[in-house]
Amino acid sequence: MADPAYIVDGVLTDGEAWVAVGSTTISGTSTTSVTFTSTDDGQTGDFSQYMDLCFVCSGSAIYAPASILSLRYKINSDASNYKSVRMKGDRTSATGADENYNQLGQLVSSDPASYQGVTVAWFFDINSAKNKAILTQNGMDRGASQDGVIMLAGRQYTQPEPISSLYFYEPNGFSFQAGSRFDLWGILPRMVTA
């Protein structure tokens, strides 16, 4: 098995900590989910080498009425065992709330066209036995006639297993719009003695 290019004889050669793991850009009209799965092979797609993961989505979903849609996630294919708290602002108010399900971010519907919901999610310490913790920032602008949303959330998957897969979907089963993009990076540590 060959080492990734940034490891030579078991040594990090350039200190690059930010490694592209996967990227999906939607084409067509029938894609309802995106999955990133650890390759478990010691290569760049192997989640077990990373301290954190960073996920970025710029996306919308196919649904005709003007609507704010959800982007949800599953860790290790599990639909349960999620908690979170978020604070959210729209053009009229700021609110705080618990979201004790697998909410991650928002997507814009087909109206208004060509707008995207953006989500940046940091998955911390993904190979530990801690509850898995995620910090998410969302932004969604829908032009002058519709409310936008900004949100900061702390999310938790309350299970001890390492993260080996991430699954993203719209909970009504709506397909992602063509051009929606999903990217995942792994963040390597540089361990020192504690």
């Binding site: 350039d14 200190g15 690059e16 900590a17 930010w18 301290m51 954190d52 908690k83 708290v85 978020r86 604070m87 602002g89 700021a94 609110t95 705080g96 709330a97 618990d98 940091w122 911390f124 310490d125 530990s128 801690k130 509850n131 913790a133 995620i134 910090l135 920032q137 900061l152 959330a153 702390g154 938790q156 309350t158 001890p160 963040i187 390597l188 540590p189 540089r190 361990m191 020192v192 504690a194």
Partner: protein
């Protein structure tokens, strides 16, 4: 060329009073610090942590040269925006304590911008959550003593120990 480099990760195998990053090179544009941490304090609720900077190879600055401004969100509301009096540290994180659920470590991401520029006060922003009692926060802090130079040391501590399993990672970000 690497754009984001891992400078150091400290993963505590035993409780510890402080975590310190030293000899931070001035060769990056920005720093980013991630931690998943828990306090050995026996209580519950928000606990103060101390983030302090040093320069010139010396100890961290313990003078009243730090400021912080933040907003918190809860399960039922968003709190008002708060600017505290200037102090001797920046408390950048919601750190769960031993009096709170055992399986929870708070997470924090701190961005320290243009940290090597000696003509600016050092400024950071942070986002954090302790997952407990529905609390999330976003804040900004400054190190403004007027005598500071490029940040080459960061100290993280609190009144109690950090608990075993707490993890702290410092990264440097370069321009293209």
């Amino acid at each position: 060329m690497a754009i984001m480099e891992a400078i150091a990760t400290t993963y505590l195998e035993a409780d510890a009073a402080t975590v310190e990053f030293t000899s931070i090179p001035a060769t990056y544009e920005h720093l980013t610090l991630h931690y998943t941490a828990r306090s050995a304090g026996s209580g519950g609720g928000h606990v103060i942590m101390y983030l302090q900077f040093g320069t010139g190879g010396g100890a961290v600055d313990t003078g009243t040269n730090y400021s912080i401004h933040y907003i918190r969100g809860y399960a039922s509301a968003v709190g008002t925006s708060v600017k505290t009096a200037d102090g001797t540290y920046i408390s950048a994180g919601r750190i769960p304590q031993e009096g709170e659920p055992a399986d929870v470590y708070g997470i924090t991401k701190v961005d320290i911008l243009d940290y090597a520029n000696t003509n600016k006060n050092t400024t950071l922003q942070f986002a954090t959550t302790g997952h407990i009692n529905g609390e999330i926060g976003f804040g900004s802090g400054g190190w403004f003593g007027g005598t500071q130079g490029a940040v080459d040391r960061i100290k993280l501590s609190m009144a109690n120990n950090w608990v075993r399993g707490s993890q702290f990672s410092l990264y440097g970000i370069k321009s293209a």
